[in-house]
């Protein structure tokens, strides 16, 4: 047997020495192979070696195995064989994990295991660069037995910490029992023990005179030595450091749950070392994740620790919060059995169960009613709630304590008149396992005057209000305020508000006992979120109010309306507004029941078709004047007196579409009026909004608003059209007009140095009678010499002529262009008008409406045809008809002309003929016609054709119409008037 062992040791040594040499030669594969052989040889020795006492033997074997494994994994990792290294590690771990040894020294085993993980984690971390990226692509598949975290050092750090924790438990148990076999047998710790020169062995140095002898230790001595060594170390700090390292890595790897598991363990370690502040901080972060994802059992454990931390930190408020949260959690596990050893597993809170919840609730209730609570881990520590240190817990909509008390508040209406009562329903629900009795409910609104208190009728009112600090608060009583588990307690009361605006229920504070309050933020039933945790429970859905409509749409906010205004605001506009004029809208303020103090009148002009601003969107600068289609010009006191214009020291602000003026203080019976002057630049329909804000009495700040609106149409008052005509029976030949296609362009062609007639027609397109004061053509150019001459020759008299709706006003002008131009500007028509019914301002200067005349094309006409015949004829009496063609060029012109037959006339003269016209000469064709029919008759159709220009000219129908009297008529026209008319026509 001994021989066999010796052979094994020699084989092990030989393998190891060869491996070291191979390593020295940088022959990594060889080195690896021999190290692996050595490791295998070591495995065989575990059961057989008897060289040392059993405890020390195991320690030695583990030490050698550790060193060999370190070599192997280093070689593998540096060679980039991560998977193999991890597989080796798992094999190593599995081979030794059950090799615990004796109970007394089990802590050595856990310590060693922890070190294995730590060493491997550090190796992985240092060789992380060698890990190929492709490795991660096939995790979880049959080809790979690895998972994501196994290549992460954090995974091993975490496990190292776990085993170190196990070591600490074993050591603590060992020390707490204190009656181990070894301590009884061996007595004291041996002195001067030191690691031997051989790996994994220890020896004692004994001085004998000058000689120092190294003596082997007995197992009992070794255990004592190991225990005393282990006690010297603060494992907790090591554990915390390892967990922190793992936690940070997992956080970076976006594995929040693993990170929180590490935080949880870290917190427990802090708790163990009685660092309650750090423990509480960590447990708080951990529990927030569990809360968010609804892991009740995990949360329960953390909350149990937090409870203990709060007691140790002497924070009754925190203790109550954590206890209430725990008591209101839905229990996940279905078993209710208590396991005796559940403390280590579940921490101070124990196993989550219904009975624990009930116990927690009663514990908290007794605490708030004055009893003391003692810590479970340290009996000397306790907390209490006293009158001097009352506890108040605030519950908002994200607080987990919503499960403890949830308050939903619904007004039964959406708006209310000031001073009239409105119903409000408070619904309270609790998920605590037992019914809870509330002594007092305090309801708080944003208008403090509405606050009220509901008192449990069982309590004496006088006793409840003994502190007497809220004497003026309304007090209601309820028969009993008891909240059963998951059952809505509904209380309905009236609320009355005198202040207009928003009335919102802010919070409901429940008082339990003398010095404990829980203040819940009020929630609207319409926008109430599900309870955390309980939303996953298969509970019957209940509604906060009996009325299902209110449960779905109820709000904790109500609009208190303004008091009804008792002031008349009268806006008046008799007729539509006309573009261009200053339209006056009278506005009158008449107090009926209220007096008006610090009144302010706001005027706003808005496009009636929507779109807001009254300006064209293309204009970039909104404040430059003239861009607005409709403009508020002024607001002035009625009466037209300049002095009564609103003084500048009062509020007055006028913009194009907005104005503010202050209104003087008015008593009932007074009257104040002003006029708004508005100018339309474009025809637009406009809403005029006037709102008067005032205080009904001088002291109160509450303001009342009166709104009025008026739609005013802006209309174009006058439409101006114009036509150009040639003088009667005179047709110049305009070549470009002949060439242009008929209807292709709307250009106006005028002959040069010929008089043309311009007729301007102004039509009243509004619904009110207007007066035209003047009409004229205004030249655009400022020069004295205009390239044309325009004269007003006639039309309807322009002296204040009345223009009824639809009526027309005509002005006749003669135009004589003086230059040949393809684009001659003729200026604009200016029409000065005003309304026939003037309002107050009778001395109105009138409104100028201007319309630009289009440019005309002026050209020299080579030929001018004029027709001459008497203004009328008499049946059967012959008359002369001349067609005169005047050649205005310096060329010889050849013309052809023809005269068609008609039934109404017979004539003598050639039907078709041709002739030449000398330059600047006139060619006259004369016919004698005898009318055969009476009445308005068409003369025979004459056609004149110019051969040079290939242009035919047909005189128009109107120009060749003559009236035939059956017999000689009698005219009573004075000769001179006849001449005037003729002279004007021949101009």
């Amino acid at each position: 047997m001994i021989l066999h062992t010796m052979i094994q040791i020699l084989a092990l040594l030989w393998h190891q020495i060869v491996a070291v040499f191979a390593e020295f030669r940088r022959d990594w594969a060889e080195a690896l192979r021999f190290y692996e052989e050595a490791y295998r040889a070591l495995r065989e020795m575990i059961a057989t070696s008897t060289r040392l006492p059993p405890v020390q033997r195991l320690v030695e074997i583990r030490a050698v195995a550790e060193q060999l494994f370190f070599k192997i994994s280093t070689l593998l990792l540096h060679g980039g064989k991560v998977e193999e290294a991890i597989a080796w590690f798992n094999r190593h771990f599995n081979s030794y994990k059950h090799l615990v040894g004796l109970d007394e020294v089990s802590f050595l085993h856990w310590d060693w295991l922890s070190r294995q993980f730590l060493v491997f984690a550090e190796l992985l971390e240092t060789s992380s660069a060698a890990i190929p990226n492709t490795l991660s692509s096939h995790f979880g598949t049959p080809e790979s037995s690895l998972t994501e975290w196994e290549i992460q050092p954090a995974y091993y750090y975490q496990l190292a910490a776990n085993y170190l924790r196990e070591k600490r438990y074993c050591l603590d148990n060992l020390l707490s029992t204190g009656d181990s076999e070894f301590s009884r047998t061996s007595g004291k710790v041996p002195e001067s023990v030191m690691p031997s020169v051989f790996i994994g062995q220890s020896a004692r140095l004994v001085e004998q005179g000058d000689m120092i002898e190294v003596l082997p230790l007995s197992d009992a001595e070794y255990v004592q030595y190991a225990l005393s060594e282990a006690q010297r170390f603060q494992d907790s700090y090591e554990i915390i450091a390892l967990f922190r390292k793992a936690c940070e890595s997992f956080t970076n790897l976006k594995a929040p749950r693993l990170a929180s598991l590490c935080s949880n363990r870290m917190a427990k370690e802090y708790f163990f070392t009685e660092d309650f502040t750090d423990a509480k901080k960590l447990f708080d972060t951990v529990s927030s994740l569990y809360r968010q994802e609804g892991w009740v059992t995990l949360l329960w454990e953390s909350l149990g620790y937090l409870q203990e931390c709060s007691i140790r930190l002497d924070s009754a408020k925190d203790f109550i919060e954590y206890s209430l949260e725990m008591a209101s959690l839905p229990i996940f596990a279905n078993g209710d059995q208590e396991i005796p050893d559940s403390k280590r597993e579940y921490g101070p809170a124990g196993l989550p169960s219904q009975s624990r919840r009930e116990a927690l609730q009663s514990e908290v209730l007794s605490l708030v009613r004055g009893e003391e609570i003692v810590s479970r881990t340290d009996r000397g520590c306790s907390i209490a709630v006293t009158k001097e240190q009352p506890v108040r817990i605030d519950v908002d909509i994200i607080s987990p304590l919503r499960m403890v008390l949830l308050v939903s508040v619904a007004f039964h209406d959406q708006s209310v008149k000031p001073g009239s009562p409105v119903m409000i329903t408070l619904s309270l629900v609790s998920q605590l396992p037992c019914s809870i009795e509330v002594d007092e409910l305090e309801i708080e609104f944003n208008q403090p005057k509405c606050n009220f208190i509901i008192i449990n009728a069982v309590e004496e009112i006088s006793a409840a209000r003994s502190n007497g600090d809220n004497q003026d608060v309304r007090i209601e009583t309820a028969p009993s305020i008891v909240l059963p588990t998951n059952k809505w307690l509904r209380l309905t009361y009236d609320v009355k508000s005198d202040q207009s605006g928003k009335l919102e229920c802010l919070s409901v504070t429940a008082r339990i006992g003398k010095s404990f309050k829980i203040c819940c933020q009020a929630e609207s039933p319409a926008s109430m979120e599900d309870l955390p945790f309980w939303k996953f429970e298969g509970m019957v859905q209940t509604f906060p109010t009996k009325d299902p409509v209110l449960s779905f749409s109820g709000q904790k906010v109500i609009q208190v309306e303004e008091p009804d205004p008792e002031v008349d605001l009268i806006l008046n506009a008799s007729s539509p507004a006309l573009v261009g004029e200053s339209f006056v809208v009278p506005l009158t303020v008449i107090p009926r029941g209220h007096e008006v103090y610090s009144g302010e009148l706001k005027i706003n002009l808005v496009d009636a078709r929507g779109g807001g601003l009254l300006m064209s969107p293309r204009e970039t600068d909104p404040f430059s004047s003239g861009n607005h289609h409709v403009e508020l010009i002024s607001i002035s006191r009625m009466g037209g007196d300049d002095e009564s214009r609103i003084h500048s020291d009062k509020i007055k602000k006028i913009q194009q579409s907005f104005g503010v003026v202050s209104v003087p203080d008015l008593r009932v019976g007074d009257k104040w009026s002003c006029k708004l002057e508005i100018k339309w630049h474009k025809p637009k329909s406009v809403m005029l909004y006037a709102s008067l804000g005032y205080s009904p009495n001088s002291a109160e700040a509450a303001r009342v608003n009166v709104h009025r609106s008026l739609q005013i149409e802006g209309k174009i008052p006058i439409s101006i059209t114009h036509t150009f005509m040639m003088p009667f029976r005179r047709e110049p030949l305009l070549l470009s007009k002949v060439k242009s296609l008929p209807g292709a362009d709307q250009n106006v062609y005028l002959p040069l140095n010929e008089t043309s007639i311009l007729i301007v027609t102004a039509r009243n397109s509004s619904e009110v009678p207007l007066r035209v004061k003047s009409m004229m053509i205004q030249s655009n150019s400022n020069k004295n010499e205009t390239p044309y001459s325009i004269q007003h020759v006639g039309g309807v008299s322009a002296d204040d002529s009345l223009l009824v709706p639809g009526g027309e006003f005509k002005g006749v002008f003669s135009v004589r262009p003086k230059i040949d131009s393809p684009n001659l500007e003729l200026g604009s028509v200016c029409l000065n008008w005003n309304r026939d019914l003037t309002l107050s301002d009778s001395e109105d200067s009138g409104v100028m409406t201007e319309q630009k005349l289009p440019a005309v094309i002026v050209e020299q006409s080579p030929l001018v045809v004029s027709l001459e015949f008497p203004p009328h004829a008499i049946l059967g009496i012959p008359f002369l008809f001349y067609i005169k063609v005047s050649n205005q060029t310096n060329l010889l012109q050849e013309i052809k002309y023809s005269l068609g037959d008609t039934q109404s006339f017979v004539f003598c003269g050639p039907h078709d003929n041709a002739g030449f016209i000398l330059p600047k000469m006139e060619y006259v064709m004369s016919y004698k016609l005898v009318p055969l029919c009476s009445g308005s008759q068409q003369l025979p159709q004459a056609t004149i054709t110019s051969l040079r220009y290939s242009a035919a000219l047909n005189p128009s129908v109107t120009a060749t119409t003559i009236f035939v009297y059956p017999s000689e008529p009698n005219f009573f026209v004075a000769d001179n008037e006849k001449e005037t008319i003729l002279a004007k026509l021949n101009l």
Partner: protein, 143 residues
């Protein structure tokens, strides 16, 4: 042997969790199941890294702890199924077929018209059926 089975909902909240080992390590199993969700998130959110697993609901081995292995399965409706085994050497096909039966049991349970989607599964029949499947997976354990 199967130590624990779990169904986890959309918000990573536990819908069903049953351990088959005895009550003392329930908390540990809760922790293990909860931590395994990190791996599921990692695999689902990084489809590039797990091309093979994307096409099927079986997610494979998620998380080996020292004494347990966790396997995962993701339904089309993103409900996660997890199983924690104490056997360190389990055939992939066995786990796959286990998940298929587990999923079928879940589908039957949530098809109950009285079950509200997203809430915990409280059906006793489901529990019985699941423990039947678990027993069938490792008949020696309870025999």
């Amino acid at each position: 042997m199967i130590a624990c089975v779990a169904v986890v909902g959309h918000q990573n909240n536990p819908l069903y969790l049953q351990s088959f080992t005895g009550a003392d390590d329930a908390l540990k199993l809760h922790h293990i199941v909860h931590c395994s969700l990190d791996v599921i998130d990692e695999r689902v959110n990084n489809p590039k890294r797990s091309v093979i697993t994307l096409n099927e609901s079986y997610l494979g081995l998620l998380y080996p702890t020292e004494s347990y292995k966790v396997y995962g399965y993701l339904s089309n409706t993103k409900v996660k199924f997890l199983v924690v085994t104490t056997d360190l050497d389990v055939k992939d096909t066995d786990i796959r077929s286990f998940f298929r039966r587990f999923h079928a049991a879940y589908v039957d349970a949530v098809s109950n018209p009285f079950h509200v989607p997203g809430k915990k599964i409280i059906s006793r029949i489901f529990a019985v059926r699941v423990s039947g499947i678990v027993k069938a997976f490792a008949p020696g354990t309870y025999g």
